[in-house]
């Protein structure tokens, strides 16, 4: 990856984080930790990897994203806003009465959201159906599905993974957000999922384990998922819950947090400084 692309994607990741903060600032609380951990993945997906057209969000040939950990909706809305799917300021209505931007992703409400999620585990099967549908329709689209490590407690996730491998859905790409924490604490304390990469490998996935908050590593890993074959793909992303905002990273219970406007303004200023430094 050339330096310019790398910088552009890093800047996009910062913009996504700023958008998340703007959304949650307006409401005063929200799912910060798990939104921030996937911002780098979303930057590479929407900034480089996915075949999408913000002016034609229902284009059947597009690549699709299913954010199965639906509570990362704020991060998805942010990247869609930056990419121009709808006016940027719309995302600041997050969770306000009548909003098109609910806590959890809803394809009937938000332009550019490819699938409704929120009940953990369900996105994995939906994405498998979409990937199978694209294949049967002769479309060479890929379906990316972001799955939480905590979400992997759900049995449906493993039913879906078994299905994707058995049906050889090589257009099914799992991004497993291994941010180590779920609502009640560390995944290892609540219900230890063990070695997720080994599990994905055992389930028949072409599996890579990478630093999910590293733009270059994510771009390289996603590049590999283009090669087809007869296996679905898994990228087990080593991430930090709350990544990019030290105060959030340092908060143990950062799944859903209350925030003040002053806190948010400080975080926005810090993120903007990072962005300015990259802009040079």
């Amino acid at each position: 990856m050339d330096e310019k692309m790398k910088k552009d994607l890093q800047k996009l990741a910062l913009q996504i984080r700023m958008g998340v903060v703007e959304e949650i600032k307006a409401r005063g609380f929200g799912h910060l930790g798990g939104s921030l951990s996937v911002c780098d993945a979303l930057a590479v997906l929407y900034g480089k990897e996915m075949r999408v057209d913000p002016k034609n969000p229902q284009w059947p040939e597009r690549d699709k994203l299913v954010c199965s950990k639906g509570h990362a909706g704020p991060a998805v809305y942010s990247v869609l806003a930056v990419k121009g799917y709808f006016p940027y300021d719309d995302i600041k209505t997050l969770n306000q009465p009548g909003t098109d931007f609910p806590s959890h992703c809803d394809k009937k409400k938000t332009i550019g959201v490819d699938m409704t999620t929120g009940s953990l585990g369900q996105g994995t099967s939906l994405a498998a159906g979409m990937a199978l549908g694209d294949r049967l329709k002769g479309r060479d689209s890929r379906v990316f599905v972001i799955v939480g490590d905590g979400e992997s407690n759900e049995g449906q996730v493993w039913e879906a993974f078994m299905f994707a491998a058995a049906k050889k859905l090589s257009n099914y790409v799992v991004l497993l957000d291994n941010n180590k924490k779920q609502l009640d604490g560390y995944v290892s304390d609540v219900l230890d999922t063990g070695d997720l990469a080994a599990k994905m490998e055992a389930f028949g996935f072409d599996t890579q384990a990478v630093d999910g908050n590293d733009i270059e590593a994510m771009a390289a890993a996603l590049e590999r998922t283009k090669k087809g074959g007869d296996k679905p793909y898994a990228i087990v992303m080593d991430t930090v819950k709350g990544k990019g905002i030290a105060d959030v990273e340092d908060t143990m219970a950062n799944h859903s947090m209350n925030v003040t406007p002053e806190q948010c303004d400080k975080w926005l200023a810090d993120l903007q400084k990072e962005w300015d430094a990259l802009e040079g």
Binding site: D106, T116, S119, A128, G129, M130, L132, G133, D134, F163
Partner: protein, 319 residues
């Protein structure tokens, strides 16, 4: 409507109809796709579906099957999914509710062996609550099938309908009610027999029982109307009110828990506009058990004799 009921059994079994009709629909419409959870061989679809791209065997994983179907729906397909009633309702209810219903991905769910039709599979396989569950799903259509030609008509109608459609249907033979090629419109009660003294709204296997009850009652000078209310949701409320007004006494008959099914739906309709005495023939609030179907019908109070008794009770309550 071509009503041919004479008490004789249809030589065709429901499972033959499911097998041939799902295949026919798939051949006619490339967007039809059929998913099963390792029970293709039970409804006669395995022969074509195991080798067709329009058949998907999901294995014994109903929750995933419902989600995959919803994803296929989002991709432009018209999915039909099948399992035995409890696994097509309780086992994957949340997935059908959210991934299909809430998310706006229309699918059709076929739950076979309703209620006592589960017979020798016993209580674990015996759904008395599936209609209650699916009735509570916003925008759903709930259909309790009584006859092979009705099933053919219904399978075709649901293909392009919005929302979640739930079809509960047996696998064995049934009494023949409708003529070949009958069009049985979803959403309308079908009058099978006229009668002035009471109206019996029945579904599924209870229609055959209602006809047997009518013969017994007729000998005592009590004439019942029999209405096939196979569309339990959305209920044909106008039909219910019309017969309540005309007869002044109503009995419901269903192979289901008395809670949440046809009895509840009919009472809802009447409470709002035409309260008359209503009696039910349905399963009391209990779990299923194993046995031959005729034994189970007696055990759970689902026979012609029970209908006779409840009609007499309803008529006696008339003012």
């Amino acid at each position: 409507m071509d009503i041919v009921y004479n008490g004789e059994m249809d030589p065709r079994a429901f499972k033959e109809i499911l097998g041939t009709q799902l295949q026919a629909l798939a051949e006619e419409d490339p967007d039809v796709i059929y998913l099963d959870a390792d029970l293709m061989s039970c409804i006669g679809t395995a022969k074509w579906a195991m080798t067709s791209s329009q058949g998907v065997n999901c294995g014994i994983a109903e929750a995933n099957m419902a989600g995959v179907a919803a994803g296929l729906s989002a991709s432009g397909f018209k999915p039909y999914i099948h399992s035995f009633g409890p696994f097509a309702s309780r086992r994957c209810y949340d997935q059908v509710y959210l991934s299909a219903g809430y998310a706006g991905n229309p699918i059709t769910v076929i739950g076979s062996d309703p209620g006592v039709c589960a017979a020798f599979n016993g209580g674990t396989h015996m759904p008395f609550e599936d209609m209650a569950l699916y009735r509570a799903m916003p925008g759903s259509t709930v259909l309790d099938i009584a006859d092979c030609n009705q099933l053919i008509s219904v399978l075709r109608q649901v293909k392009d309908m919005d929302g979640v459609k739930y079809i509960r249907v047996g696998r064995k033979n049934c009494a023949k009610i409708y003529g070949d090629g009958a069009d049985v419109p979803i959403g309308k009660g079908v009058t099978l027999r006229e009668g002035k003294d009471a109206a019996v709204f029945a579904t599924g296997i209870m229609i055959h029982e209602a006809f047997k009850a009518a013969e017994v009652l007729s000998k005592d000078g009590i004439e019942i109307a029999i209405i096939d209310m196979f569309t339990v949701k959305p209920l044909d409320g106008a039909c219910v009110v019309k017969y309540a007004k005309e007869t002044g006494a109503v009995v419901t008959a269903e192979n289901h828990n008395k809670i949440g099914g046809l009895y509840s739906a009919v009472c809802d309709a009447l409470a709002a506009s035409e309260p008359v005495p209503v009696e039910y023939v349905a399963v009391e609030d209990v779990f299923g058990e194993v046995g031959p179907q005729d034994y189970l019908q007696k055990q759970f109070g689902l026979t012609a004799e029970h209908i006779v008794e409840k009609v007499r009770a309803a008529v006696a309550r008339k003012k």
